[in-house]
Amino acid sequence: MKPPVFDYQDPASVEEAVDVLARHGAAAKVLAGGQSLVPLLNLRLARPEVVVDINRIDALDYLTEESGWLRVGARVRQRRLEREGDVRRTVPLLAEAVRFVGHPQIRNRGTVCGSLAHADPAAELPAAAVAVGARLVAHSRSGIREIPAEEFFTGPLTTALRPDELLVEARFPCTGPDWGWAFLEVSNRHGDYALCGVAAGVRARDGRVQDARLAYAGAGPVPVRLRQAEVALVEHADLEEGIRAAAAEARRVLRPDGDLHASSEFRRHLAAVLTARALRLAWSRASTCSGGAHA
C-alpha cells in the first residue's frame, strides 16, 4: 500500500494551479484533503503523473455569505460547516448532512469541494448540493464557469469538470423563509457512506406544502433529485397523503445498484422509509421555526 512514483506540485495561487492543470491535463490530479485521493494512490487505483496540492492556496480558504449565497472556497474543510454557527442558519441542510461524513478526523481534513469533485454516489454533500440547488464554480486557463449541481454529477466518481479545471468554489443558496430541511441516512455504522440517504426540504405555508426538495444519496449512479415526488407533495392537500405519495414515488422511480452491503431492493425500501421520515422532520422544522433555522 505505497503509491507508485508521481511528481508533486504545490502552487500558491489559482493561476499557477490552473497552469499546471493545463500543462498536464488528465495526467494530473488535484490534492485537497486527501481523504479519498490518498487511499486511492496507496491502493494504486489512481496513478497520476502529477499531484497538484492546492493546500498552499490561501485565497481558496473562505466561507462567506454574500447576496443570499453561502460561498465555500476549495480549501474549506468539511468540519467548518458544522462548527460555524452561521451555516446552520444560512444552509441548515449542509450543517446537518456534513455530520454524516466519516468521523471528525476525516472532516478536519476533507474539503467540501473535494467531496463534490470526488462525486461518490453515496456521499452526503453531493446529495445536499443537488437538493438545495448549489452551483459549482470551475476555473481554468480559459476562464470561469458555473455549473448547476444537477448537471455537475455525471456518473459514479465522474463530474462535468474538465481535467484542466479546478473547482474553486461551491455556492449554496441560503434557505428561504418558511423552509424546513432534514438530512437522514442509514449506514451500517455511524460515519460510513450511506446505504441510502435523503435530503429533504419543504416550504410550509398555511398548513400546506408550498414547495419541496428531495434528493438521494446511494440511490443511483449520481445524487438523484426526485421532482415527481416533490410535485406529489405539493399536490396533496393532506400532508400525510403527500408524504405517502412521495415515498411511493421514491420506491417506484429509484433504481439503486445492489452491493455487498445492501441489495437494490433494500435500498429502495430505505429510500421510501427515509423519504417519509425526512419529510416529517423537515415539515416540523418548517412549521415551528419559519426560516428553517434549527440546531
Binding site: 507508485p4 442509514v186 451500517n188 455511524h190 455487498l260 452491503h261
Partner: protein, 779 residues
C-alpha cells in the same frame, strides 16, 4: 501492614510507556542497512501457475533479491510443518513458503521481493510476470464437501480433510423417547481478527557469530525459534525470536509458519543485511488466517418438561486452502456446545473441508461462539415450542454446583477428557436476570411498544474451556537493587501481563508491583514455553510465576533467617523487607538478602540449591479449567431500517480467582466489542470466483465506540482447584455468547413476526430480508 496485590484493581505497569508512544512494535525496529520486503500474492482463488518471469523485477535498480519457489532451499520447498496432528485428520495439507505450481487462495504468496525501500519493492513486484491458468474456485462450503466444482488438492481425491465423530450415550435412543424433537440448519460465517498491529517480521543475521535474531509479531515466539532452528539447521541457542509489544493477537498470530516468518530470515541470511516486512492492511485481509464458517445440522430432543434428552450436531467446517492448525476449531465447537447443561446423549460429527479461501485457525472464541450459538438457539426454539419461559428451560437443565468435577464425556482439544473443574451456573444466570430485571421485562417491553419502539431482551449462557497445557515456565530473580525481574516464555499481546503477572510476584514477595519487571516473548530471556492462546496465560504462566515466586520467597526466608539470626517461621516479607514478625526494627531489605545469597567468598549452604535469590519453576496443568458466564442485553430494533442499537449490556463473568479486576474488565469489554462486531457488523464476503469483496475497513465494518454500548460487568468467583492460584481463563468470555444473545434479542423485539435467526453474522440487509419474508404470528 502487608499490602495485598493479588486481586487489586491496579493500573497497568505498561500503560505509561505505551501511551506516550514508547512501545516497541515490529515496525519500530530500525537497523542500519535494513532492507524492505514485499510479497507478490495470488490474485486468483484457484489457478495453475504456468510461468513466472522475474527478470524485469531483478533489473530494477533498487532490488536486491527476488525469490520464487524454485529459488528456495530444498527444506523450504516442502509444505511447511504440520502444527497439531490428529488421528481423524487424514489429509493434513499445509501451506507452502511460496506456491510451487498452483495457488489455492487469493493472497497466497507467489514471489518475494527485497529492495532498498518498501516503495521500490512494491514497484518491482508489479514487474513480475506470472501466467495463471484459472481453475474453478471452491467457495461454497456444502459444494466443497461434495467435491464441487473442483478439488483444492487433487492428489487426495476429495475436499474433505477430516471426518470426526464423538458420542456420549445413545442419541438415537433418546430421540425415540422424546416428546419434542427440533431440527434446524445453523450457519456461522467467516470472520477475522483485526489487530491494530498487523503481522510483521524483521530478521538480522550475524554471519560471524552465525546467529539469527528475529522480531516477529507472533503469539508464540518459542515455537517459532525452534521451528526456524530446525528449518535452517541452526542450534536453538543461536536463534533468538523476540515478540516485542505485540499490538493484538486474538489467535491468528499463533501459527507456524506464516510464509513471511521463513522468507524474511532466509533473505536476511542470503543478503547478510537486515530485512523488514510489515503486512499492510490489504494483505492482512487475505494473508492472515480467518475463522468461523461452519454449517451445523443440529437437533435437540426433550421431554415435555423441557429436560434435554439429547443433542445431535452434524456440521461442516471450512478449513480454507490448507489446514496447518488441524482440527482445533471444530473440536472446540463441538466440545463447547453442551455448555452448562446436562446432556446425557450427544452426537457430534464434523467434516473439515478444504475451500479456495484464506486458511482458518483459531480466532478469539475459536469455535466456542459456534457451539454456544447452536445450543442456545435450540433451547430458545424448544422453549417457544413447549410454551416455556426461556430462563426456566435453562434452569431445568443446568449442571448443579455440587456435581463438579463434571465429566462431559468428550475428548477436548488437548486430547484430555472434557471435565469441568468447578463453577456455579445457576447463580450466574440468576445474577444476570436480576441485573436486567427479567421478571418485569414483559411490562417494560410493553411500555417500549406503547412508544412505538421495538426493544428485545436477550441472554445467553456459556462455558469457556481455557488454561490448557502442556506447560509454561518462569524465572523470578531478585537483584541486589531490590527490584524483581520475571521472565516467562508466554508472549503478551496487550493483555496486561506486565501487571497481572507482576501482581502474583508482588503478592508472594511483599514488594511494590512497580518494582516487578516482567519480560515475556523473548527467547533470549526465557527459552521454554508454548505461547499465549486458549486463554491460558494467566492460568498456566500465572501458576508458574506463582510457583517460582514462592520458591524465591522460601529462599529469601532461609537466607534472611541467618542474617537476622531468627528462625524462618518468625519472618515475614513486606514493603520490600524481610522482617521479624512483631519486631519490625529487625529487618533486612530484599536487595540485601539477594546480595547475601550471592557471596564473593565463603560457602553456600546446600539447602540454598545454588546462589542468588532466584528460582525457575514450571507448571503443567493436568487438563484445562472452565470459566463460565451469562450475558444479557437490551437491543432496540428498527424494523423499518433493519438496524440495531444496544441499550444495555450486562456480563456476569466467572473466571475463578481474579488477578486484577481492571484488566479483567478490559478483556471482557474488548471481547464483547469483538462479539458485537462478529454478530452484526463485520463480514467477510466472497464472490463465486473466491474474491474477497469486503477486504478493507471501508467494507469490513468494525464497530466503533458509537455502536458499542457501555458494558456492565458483574464478577463471580469460583476458583479452579486445578492450579495453585485458582485462576481460569478470561480471554474469550466476552466474545463467546454474543451471537446467540443478539439472535434471541432480535427475535424478542420482533416477536409479532414468525421469524427465526439461524445465521450469524447478521447485517441490515440480511435482517431486512428476514423481516420481509416473515409472516405475522397468528396469521
Amino acid at each position: 501492614m502487608t499490602t495485598r496485590w493479588l486481586g487489586a484493581p491496579i493500573k497497568r505497569n505498561e500503560d505509561p510507556r505505551l501511551l506516550v508512544g514508547q512501545g516497541l512494535f515490529v515496525d519500530d525496529v530500525q537497523l542500519p542497512g535494513m532492507l524492505h520486503a514485499v510479497v507478490l500474492r495470488s490474485p486468483h482463488a484457484h489457478a495453475r501457475i504456468l510461468r513466472i518471469d522475474v527478470r524485469r523485477a531483478l533489473e530494477h535498480p533498487d532490488v536486491l533479491l527476488v525469490l520464487t519457489h524454485a529459488d528456495l532451499p530444498p527444506s523450504l520447498r516442502e509444505p511447511l510443518p504440520k502444527l497439531i496432528p490428529h488421528p481423524d485428520l487424514k489429509h493434513h495439507k499445509t501451506q507452502y513458503t511460496l506456491a510451487p505450481d498452483k495457488v489455492r487462495h487469493v493472497g497466497e504468496p507467489v514471489a518475494f521481493v527485497v529492495a532498498t525501500s518498501r516503495y521500490a519493492a512494491e514497484d518491482a513486484a508489479e514487474l513480475i510476470e506470472v501466467d495463471y491458468e484459472p481453475l474453478p474456485a471452491v467457495v461454497d462450503l456444502e459444494d466443497a464437501a461434495a467435491g464441487r466444482p473442483a478439488l483444492v488438492h487433487e492428489d487426495i481425491g476429495t475436499n474433505v480433510a477430516a471426518h470426526s465423530v464423538q458420542r456420549v450415550g445413545d442419541y438415537e435412543a433418546a430421540r425415540a423417547r422424546a416428546d419434542l424433537v427440533l431440527a434446524r440448519r445453523f450457519v456461522v460465517d467467516r470472520g477475522c481478527a483485526s489487530p491494530m498491529e498487523t503481522r510483521g517480521v524483521v530478521a538480522q543475521w550475524d554471519p560471524r557469530a552465525r546467529q539469527l535474531t528475529v522480531w516477529d509479531s507472533t503469539q508464540a515466539p518459542i515455537p517459532i525459534r525452534n521451528g526456524l532452528a530446525a528449518l535452517f539447521g541452526l542450534a536453538q541457542k543461536d536463534v533468538r525470536v523476540i515478540a516485542p509489544d505485540v499490538g493484538g493477537g486474538f489467535g491468528p498470530k499463533i501459527m507456524m509458519f506464516y510464509p513471511e516468518e521463513v522468507l524474511v530470515p532466509l533473505a536476511a541470511m542470503r543478503l547478510g543485511r537486515p530485512v523488514k516486512w510489515i503486512e499492510d492492511r490489504r494483505e492482512h485481509f487475505v494473508a492472515t488466517n480467518h475463522e468461523r464458517t461452519q454449517i451445523h445440522h443440529a437437533e435437540i430432543a426433550l421431554d415435555r418438561e423441557g429436560h434435554i434428552l439429547g443433542v445431535r450436531t452434524v456440521f461442516l467446517h471450512d478449513a480454507g486452502a490448507y489446514i496447518p492448525y488441524g482440527l482445533i476449531v471444530p473440536i472446540v465447537a463441538e466440545c463447547t456446545l453442551p455448555g452448562p447443561y446436562r446432556i446425557p446423549n450427544y452426537h457430534a460429527e464434523f467434516r473439515a473441508v478444504f475451500t479456495n479461501k484464506t486458511i482458518v485457525s483459531p480466532y478469539r472464541g475459536a469455535g466456542r461462539p459456534h457451539g454456544v450459538f447452536v445450543m442456545e438457539r435450540l433451547l430458545d426454539l424448544a422453549a417457544r415450542e413447549l410454551g416455556m419461559d426461556r430462563a426456566e428451560i435453562r434452569r431445568r437443565n443446568f449442571i448443579q454446583p455440587h456435581e463438579f468435577p463434571y465429566d462431559v464425556g468428550l475428548i477436548y482439544q488437548d486430547n484430555a477428557p472434557l471435565v469441568y473443574d468447578s463453577g456455579n451456573y445457576p447463580a450466574a444466570l440468576e445474577r444476570a436476570l436480576e441485573a436486567v430485571d427479567y421478571p418485569r421485562w414483559p411490562e417494560e417491553k410493553a411500555r417500549y411498544r406503547a412508544q412505538g419502539r421495538r426493544v428485545g431482551l436477550g441472554f445467553a449462557c456459556y462455558v469457556e474451556g481455557s488454561g490448557i497445557g502442556p506447560y509454561e515456565g518462569c524465572r523470578v530473580t531478585v537483584e541486589p537493587s531490590g527490584k524483581v525481574y520475571v521472565a516467562t516464555g508466554v508472549g503478551t499481546q496487550g493483555q496486561g501481563h506486565f501487571t497481572s503477572l507482576a501482581q502474583v510476584v508482588a503478592e508472594a514477595l511483599g514488594v511494590d508491583v512497580r518494582d516487578v519487571h516482567v519480560v515475556t516473548g523473548d527467547t533470549g530471556a526465557f527459552g521454554w514455553g508454548t505461547g499465549t492462546f486458549a486463554s491460558r496465560a494467566a492460568v498456566v504462566a500465572g501458576s508458574a510465576v506463582h510457583l517460582a515466586a514462592q520458591a524465591v520467597r522460601q529462599k529469601a526466608l532461609q537466607v534472611a533467617a541467618s542474617l537476622l539470626e531468627a528462625s524462618p517461621e518468625d519472618l515475614e516479607l513486606a514493603d520490600g523487607q524481610v522482617r521479624v514478625r512483631g519486631a519490625p526494627s529487625r529487618s533486612v531489605s530484599l536487595g540485601e538478602v539477594a546480595r547475601a545469597a550471592n557471596p564473593l567468598r565463603g560457602v553456600i549452604p546446600s539447602e540454598w540449591e545454588g546462589p542468588g535469590l532466584e528460582a525457575t519453576r514450571y507448571f503443567a496443568p493436568p487438563r484445562g479449567t472452565f470459566s463460565h458466564g451469562v450475558h444479557a442485553a437490551l437491543v432496540e430494533v428498527d424494523p423499518e431500517t433493519a438496524t440495531l442499537r444496544f441499550l444495555r449490556y450486562v456480563v456476569v463473568h466467572d473466571c475463578g480467582t481474579i488477578l486484577n479486576p481492571l484488566i479483567l474488565d478490559g478483556q471482557i469489554h474488548g471481547g464483547v466489542a469483538q462479539g458485537i462486531g462478529g454478530s452484526f457488523f463485520e463480514r467477510l464476503v466472497y464472490d463465486d470466483s473466491g474474491q474477497l469483496l469486503s477486504g478493507s475497513f471501508m467494507d469490513f465494518h468494525i464497530p466503533t465506540a458509537v455502536e458499542i454500548p457501555e458494558i456492565e460487568v458483574i464478577h463471580q468467583e469460583t476458583p479452579s482447584p486445578l492450579n495453585p492460584i485458582g485462576a481460569k481463563g478470561a480471554g474469550e468470555g466476552g466474545v463467546i455468547p454474543v451471537p446467540a444473545l443478539v439472535a434471541q434479542a432480535i427475535e424478542d423485539a420482533l416477536d409479532d413476526l414468525e421469524l427465526e435467526i439461524l445465521r450469524m453474522p447478521l447485517h441490515p440487509d440480511a435482517l431486512f430480508e428476514l423481516i420481509q419474508k416473515a409472516t405475522r404470528r397468528g396469521s
